[in-house]
């Protein structure tokens, strides 16, 4: 296994950890806002780290640029979706957002 392969393995495994964290968070967190928080980690870092890992395997510049474009698009989509769902949920049930004020 050469250096590029080793880097790929490390980054992809790190990405997988974030996907696992996102899934566990989605399942275990108590309210929608903390679940959103978990979800965006998978969106941004999970996919991002896997993209970085796979870049070490790409042979052409076009493939690298396409991978980066996919990641940037996923970043934009993920953060905007988080914002939109968060705004939506806040408008519907604001009591969830201020729950920590409760004794």
């Amino acid at each position: 296994m050469n250096a590029a392969d080793a880097l790929t393995v490390i980054f992809c495994l790190a990405g997988a950890v974030f996907f696992l964290a996102g899934t566990v968070g989605l399942l275990r967190f108590p309210d929608i806002f903390s679940r959103l928080h978990a979800l965006t980690k998978a969106d941004n870092l999970g996919l991002g780290l896997i993209v970085i890992g796979l870049i070490f395997q790409s042979d052409s510049l076009a493939a690298i640029l396409k991978l980066l474009l996919i990641w940037i698009l996923a970043l934009a989509a993920g953060s905007n979706a988080c914002y939109a769902i968060g705004r939506f949920a806040l408008a519907r049930s604001p009591q969830d957002a201020v729950r920590e004020d409760d004794p």
Binding site: D5, F19, L26, V51, I70
Partner: protein
């Protein structure tokens, strides 16, 4: 290297299967939609890994299509929602 990609892919598919529980539990439509969003992102990662494992560069274009359309469902959900809706558990 191929086995590594395959193992990682299996792990991600298991992730998808596990997060299905949130679709059943809900409780609000927004929660269920979030799960669909996670499905999409995980699916994109799987496609990229398979593109490498199966040596099929066309799969990156499939991923690109997923990435470009990723936000459409959420925008549809947010923009067309009624002002008041039933959020039965």
């Amino acid at each position: 290297m191929n086995s590594f990609y395959m193992a990682l892919t299996i792990f991600l598919v298991l992730n998808i299967a596990a997060s299905m529980v949130r679709v059943i539990r809900g409780p609000t439509p927004a929660d269920r939609l979030m799960t669909a969003q996670l499905f999409g992102t995980t699916g994109m990662a799987i496609l990229l890994l398979l593109a490498e494992a199966m040596e099929e560069p066309a799969l990156r274009n499939v991923t690109l299509v997923f990435a470009v359309l990723a936000v459409l469902l959420v925008i549809c959900f947010v923009q067309t929602a009624e002002s008041k809706e039933t959020t039965k558990p």
